[in-house]
């Protein structure tokens, strides 16, 4: 059986190698054309930076709405559209519609795709029925539906070219993340950490949709696609059974480690990077051990999935700090040495700068001064705890134990940042990071596992840090030194992906619904416009007929739509307090709209 599988894999690789290479080259070239926005993250390096500069710091204040488009769907709208030539591709949350709009013909709908999906998938999606967007490659548009169907659509007609089934929603496996076209394959992760799913990244053949490889986050070495001698962690081989040794019995089989975040790719090193999520359940006492390789940065070979290096950021998670946030690739100098860097803003409140060639840890610093569960990462290479965060006992939900309510942990489970991607500008060499400024109480308790049922096991309440009333910041970060350069307060968490441009402007959206433009150097606000609903989408830019446009999806929801819609309680006001913080529902209501901005004629 194994032999047969292997043979077909090799066969398909060989058969499509030539075409595959060209799809990859085509995409690299297309992503360098600033008029298009050909992948959700802007480029393979995940910078969300555009060379367009018609809209700049001196004229952005004059921005106007050029056109709008209603998606016809009410739930939370994450992600953003793709632009390829005259075509724009817009996606929606469940039922996962795709619209192809012709930008040269009054934004006419050229085709529309709407899959038929079993609505039973809706309640197994942990935090709203979001979808983070589409991928393009080889003349096709790829969509990862809520029910985990990966579908390839003809970019010109919307015709279904192939479909693949990536998971089983009856077990709690769902699709929210973006597929990635890398060489001759489409790579896609899976969601379900709150349902005890055994998560993985899977590669499908670009032409046929046949599965080529699958690499799990937990389990035996062959399922992890680890070579015990060659897969490295912090400069050392991981050794045999590196994951199995860190779980009790069979718990890794329901261990989570989901892969619902963003990926990036370095074509020169030929490595793909992504992070894994929380170990299941949220009750740490129930799963002793480091729970590898949840909460981990992975660097894999896209051809066969083998892991080159890994780094676990939060061993034995006690707070739901998923490690899935984007890895941003940049080339900068550290101590006068040019380095190939990977920068990652983790849910746990630490921003990591690593050498992406080998996984060397260079910087790990708090990007919100309120982060208190750790005193920092042990950076001493000769220490036995090198690379591990030092956990403060008072905030350890494991040390305090089951049925104990641990108070005042910062950040909250939402993380200092969730999936909303940051941007990097090579002009300023700064990262622009949308953040949450929220703390929590966390009480773990025992739960039992039933396939397809929530497997949570903790009670949480969230609120702004004591003494503060704002729940978000938008910051500029120097990844070389690990320091905040400037920080703007936001009333609510910033749940929108940022965009940096050569015009010296940085854009982001807010939960009340504002699209904001700020000066890249100083953070000074230059423009704001209130869109029809709260923004949890990512800002995009493109050029059409010589004019630069900025586009963003609004449509409040997502995880931010849970807690924040009701307003967070003020823990200091005590029992019976109505909550000193105005509810988001006083500012905005549901509804998916794309709003596109440009300068006046």
């Amino acid at each position: 059986m194994r032999k047969v599988l292997l043979a077909t894999c090799l066969g398909s690789v060989a058969a499509f190698a030539a075409g595959g290479a060209s799809a990859n080259d085509e995409l690299i070239k297309m992503s360098q054309n600033p008029k298009d926005w050909v992948m959700p993250t802007g480029d393979y390096a995940n910078t969300r930076y555009s060379k367009l500069n018609q809209i700049n710091a001196s004229n952005v204040g004059k921005l106007q709405v050029a056109w709008t488009f209603s998606t016809g769907v009410l739930r939370g709208h994450e992600g953003g559209p793709l632009v390829i030539g005259n075509m724009m591709y817009v996606h929606t949350p469940f039922p996962n519609k795709v619209y192809a709009l012709d930008l040269s013909q009054d934004h006419k709908i050229v085709w529309k795709y709407e899959p038929k999906q079993d609505p039973n998938v809706i309640p197994v999606m942990c935090c709203d029925t979001v979808n983070r967007g589409l991928a393009y490659g080889d003349g096709k548009i790829f969509l990862h539906q809520a029910d985990t169907t990966l579908v390839a659509l003809d970019a010109k007609t919307g015709k279904v070219e192939w479909t693949a089934t990536n998971g089983d929603p009856s077990k709690g496996e769902t699709g929210t993340s973006v597929p990635y076209v890398i060489k001759d394959k489409v790579l896609v992760g899976i969601s379900g950490g709150e349902f005890g799913v055994h998560c993985h990244v899977t590669a499908y053949d670009l032409k046929s949709g046949k599965q080529v490889w699958r690499a799990y986050s937990q389990g035996p070495d062959d399922q992890l696609k680890f070579d015990p001698e060659k897969t490295m962690s912090l400069g050392k081989p991981v050794g045999k059974d590196s994951s199995l040794k860190t779980w009790q019995g069979d718990q890794w089989k329901t261990g989570g480690g989901c892969t619902w975040g963003w990926m990036s790719y370095d074509p020169q090193l030929d490595l793909v990077y992504y992070g894994s999520g929380n170990p299941s359940t949220w009750n740490p006492k129930q799963r002793p051990g480091d729970n590898k390789w949840s909460m981990t940065v992975f660097a894999r070979d896209p051809d066969d999935g083998m892991a080159r290096w890994v780094y676990q950021m939060t061993p034995h998670d006690e707070w739901d700090f998923d490690g899935v946030n984007e890895m941003i690739l940049s080339d900068q100098s550290i101590n006068g040495q040019p380095r190939k860097l990977l920068t990652h803003f983790d849910r746990n409140g630490l921003a990591y700068t690593m050498d992406r060639t080998n996984g060397e840890l260079l910087v790990a610093e708090k990007y919100d001064p309120k982060v208190n569960w750790t005193t920092g990462v042990d950076m001493n290479k000769s220490s036995p705890t090198f690379g591990r965060p030092k956990v403060v006992d008072q905030y350890s939900t494991d040390k305090q134990g089951e049925d104990v309510n641990v108070k005042g942990i910062c950040p909250a489970a939402l993380g200092t940042k969730d999936q909303q991607p940051a941007a990097y500008s090579p002009d300023t060499q700064l990262f622009y990071v949308p953040t949450n400024h929220v703390c929590m109480d966390y009480e773990p308790f025992r739960v039992s596992y039933t396939a397809g049922q929530p497997y949570v096991g903790a009670t949480l309440s969230m609120y702004p840090p004591p003494g503060e009333s704002h729940m978000g910041n938008f910051i500029a970060w120097d990844g070389k030194t690990g320091k905040i350069v400037w920080s703007n307060k936001e009333q609510f968490s910033v749940w929108s992906g940022a965009l940096a441009t050569a015009g010296g402007v940085v854009f982001y959206g807010t939960l009340e619904g504002y699209l904001k433009a700020v000066d890249a150097k100083s953070g000074k606000e230059l423009y704001r416009f209130k869109t029809p609903s709260g923004i949890i989408g990512n800002v995009t830019t493109y050029e059409q007929d010589g004019k630069q446009y900025v586009a963003v999806l609004s449509g409040v929801g997502g995880w931010a739509g849970i807690g924040l819609a009701a307003g967070l309680t003020d823990p200091t006001a005590g029992l019976g307090a109505v909550g000193g913080y105005a509810a988001l529902s006083n500012y905005t209501a549901l509804g998916g709209t794309l709003t596109v901005f440009a300068l006046p004629q």
């Binding site: 009410l74 739930r75 939370g76 469940f94 039922p95 609505p119 039973n120 809706i122 309640p123 197994v124 942990c126 935090c127 709203d128 029925t129 709150e194 309510n405 109480d441 009480e443 308790f445 739960v447 039992s448 039933t450 049922q453 929530p454 949570v456 096991g457 903790a458 009670t459 949480l460 309440s461 969230m462 409040v556 929801g557 739509g561 849970i562 807690g563 819609a565 009701a566 307003g567 967070l568 309680t569 823990p571 005590g574 029992l575 019976g576 307090a577 109505v578 909550g579 209501a589 549901l590």
Partner: protein, 178 residues
Amino acid sequence: MPEDKSLLRIKFAAAAIIFVAVGGIAFATGPVDPTAVKNEDGKYLDKEGNPTYKISADGIVDWYTYSGFRRYHSDCHVCHGPDGMGSTYAPALKDSLKTMSYGDFLNVVASGRKNVSTASENVMPAFGDHPNVACYMDDLYIYLRARANDALGRGRPAKREEKPEAYIAAENACMGKH
């Protein structure tokens, strides 16, 4: 979406009560007086015999209210928002329980409910065979009933009664622990 629809449902429920009253049929569809009149091994009951909360003047809550708070914030708050306040995609249960009967509550939570059309994608999952919820139905109901009657504010109850002996035995039996 939840807001509009739950409004509709509340209106409908109110109409139903009026109808019932006019018809003179004496089963309790709507809210009954939540005052606890009886204590059965730490579980309080109202005059209809339905589970209810007991909160003393100095804020000590019964065990079920406290346990319901915990279970709610583990399995329900991801959709229904903190403290039963509602979210962008599920109704505020602190309002629903103003009109919903104990029987209807058990029914919806055990069997779930679907409301899927071109304008909405609302699905309440069925928890009937999910022990982390099914074993704690009364806890959830009692907690939400206290919220609906404004007997309990937002956040974690500060003081509580001890876990009753009978509760421990019932919990272990239900969760399959010995």
